[in-house]
Amino acid sequence: MTNLITRRATLLGIAGSGLMLSGCEKISQIPGFQGMLESAEHLSRGGQRLVLTSSRPLAREYQRSDITRNFKANGTVRPQTVEYQRLMMTEFNDWQLKIDGLVQNPMEFTLPQLKALPSRTQITRHDCVEGWSAIGQWKGVPLSTILMTARLKPEARYIVFHCADDLENSPDGRGLYYESIDLVDAFHPQTIMAYEMNGQTLPVPHGAPLRLRVERQLGYKMAKYVMRIEAVDNFSGLGLGRGGFWEDRGYEWYAGI
């Protein structure tokens, strides 16, 4: 009897899971269904913003002894674009960070100019959407300092980071990495444009010469090889209009979970 039961249960289980799988895949083709699934992102963002904005809590900062020895560089580790290759050869001497879009003073910063601004150093945990974590020390300019110098126009709602890396090596630049965050995260004290990692000049695999750190979100938000910062009021003119390279490829814009 036991045999029969387990056999029957196993068969039913397999048939059930098979049916369910094909059912799920069919359902997910229905227009509007993906939209329904995506609605959970608004709940997650709304819920987290409720607890995160009221007190602006900081992400945990760790000790020097906690730093991960072998911090994995993910995504692009050596941008292939001609422009970046040229900048890299000249050790980023004529690299400039451009700030434009919905700002009163569009401006440019050289690396020495950025390094002359007040800096923040933090040892934080980096969580990749894939599931792994690593701890690193980052030093850079708070993004708020840069934005206050360039003075945001009142209609600015998001800050976009345009990068030098093309993860798909696309001929027309359609695969160029970009990311965006809202003003809550942009003005968070731990949101910095980092030029140092673990006490050394930011290495190329980790986004030299400048990368974003948004400590309360997942790794894909933290754009590397940042070339230009743009203030916008919506994402319609960017990529596929979802606010980032991975967002255009199906990932959530709000990556706090």
Binding site: M1, T2, I5, T6, R8, A9, G13, I14, S17, G18, M20, L21, C24, E25, S28, Q34, M36, L37, E38, S39, A40, E41, L43, S44, Q48, V51, L52, P57, L58, A59, R60, Y62, D66, T68, N70, K72, R125, D127, C128, V129, E130, G131, W132, S133, A134, I135, E215, R216, Q217, L218, W246, R249, G250, Y251, E252, A255, G256, I257
Partner: protein, 295 residues
């Protein structure tokens, strides 16, 4: 439940089905709806969870963990100089060849694939972390809201206090109940009108320990929640430990579901299914009818 049973039982004592079974109204509508919604949520959360796990098929202890760090659990493919790759399941220092099921398996296109969990248990069936996450978080919200309503109902309608809380006397019978379970003995008469003590203890563990653990460990992996409640991941010894405990809790739920379904077959699949669909359960009479086999 017992109040309803008493009402219906006493007012219509003559109501018996063929074979002398006494129908009782066992599961109210809310519990039935909540049960099936939980079934849907757990199935989808499990399969989309395995999809998410496949994006990094190793578990660690502590705050950090990545390739090269000692993993306490890992599923991976190992390329061979000659012949097809081998799928390995590594638990601690032990390694098991799981080729064909875990690590290396035949994919939907007929070719070998090197993912951890095979296509027939992940949602979606192909490697797609973004879509897996969307399924996971939507049904996580549904699961949490359904769970909250269930908990409120359970306490307010006194379902927990009346039907699930074991009494001292019941605990004294624990040994005999375990023996009955091992013998696949079906409950009859008065005994079949309420949950047995083993069932009660299991339900308490699942409802109040394992399922909440899923949610808390899930939130402990969120960088946003981590900065809002820094204690969250530390409860488990770090973010990667929380991810490991999330996986262990999910495994415990799978074990519970397997036993739960097996028990449904032991107790009578038609009767049990009817009670969770219509609410009505037929209680087998106390005395064994010699004309009917006990199977």
């Amino acid at each position: 439940m017992s109040a309803e049973v008493a009402d219906k039982g006493e007012s219509t004592p003559a109501r018996r089905t063929r074979g002398g079974r006494e129908p009782i109204y066992r599961h109210p509508l809310f519990i039935r709806l909540s049960h099936w919604l939980t079934v849907l949520c757990i199935a989808i959360l499990l399969m989309s969870g395995l999809q998410i796990f496949n994006a990094h098929a190793s578990l660690y202890w502590g705050n950090t963990g990545n390739e090269g760090d000692p993993a306490i659990f890992s599923i991976y493919a190992e390329e061979q100089l000659e012949g097809p790759p081998i799928g390995w399941l590594q638990i601690g220092k032990y390694k098991f060849d799981t080729t064909g099921v875990l690590g290396v398996f035949t994919d939907t296109d007929g070719f070998l694939s090197g993912r951890a969990f095979p296509w027939w248990v992940t949602l979606p069936s192909s490697q797609n972390l973004a879509e897996g996450r969307r399924w996971h978080f939507f049904f996580a919200w549904l699961f949490v809201l359904n769970g909250l309503l269930y908990l409120i109902y359970g306490f307010v309608a006194r379902h927990f206090q009346r039907d699930i809380k074991p009494t001292r006397a019941e605990f004294r019978r624990l040994g005999r109940v375990i023996l009955d379970h091992l013998k696949f003995k079906r409950a009859r008469g008065e005994e079949a009108k309420h949950y047995n003590v083993l069932q009660k203890v299991t339900y308490i563990l699942v409802i109040f320990v394992i399922l909440p653990m899923m949610i808390v460990t899930g939130l402990s992996m969120s960088p946003g929640m981590n900065s809002a409640v820094p204690l969250l991941p530390e409860l488990f010894g770090g973010r990667q430990s929380a991810r490991t405990v999330h996986f262990i809790s999910a495994s415990l739920i799978v074990i519970f579901v397997i036993i739960h379904i097996a028990e449904v077959f032991v107790a009578g699949v038609f009767n049990e299914m009817r009670s969770m669909v219509t609410g009505w359960f037929a209680v087998r009479p106390e005395r064994i009818d010699p004309n009917r086999s006990n199977r």
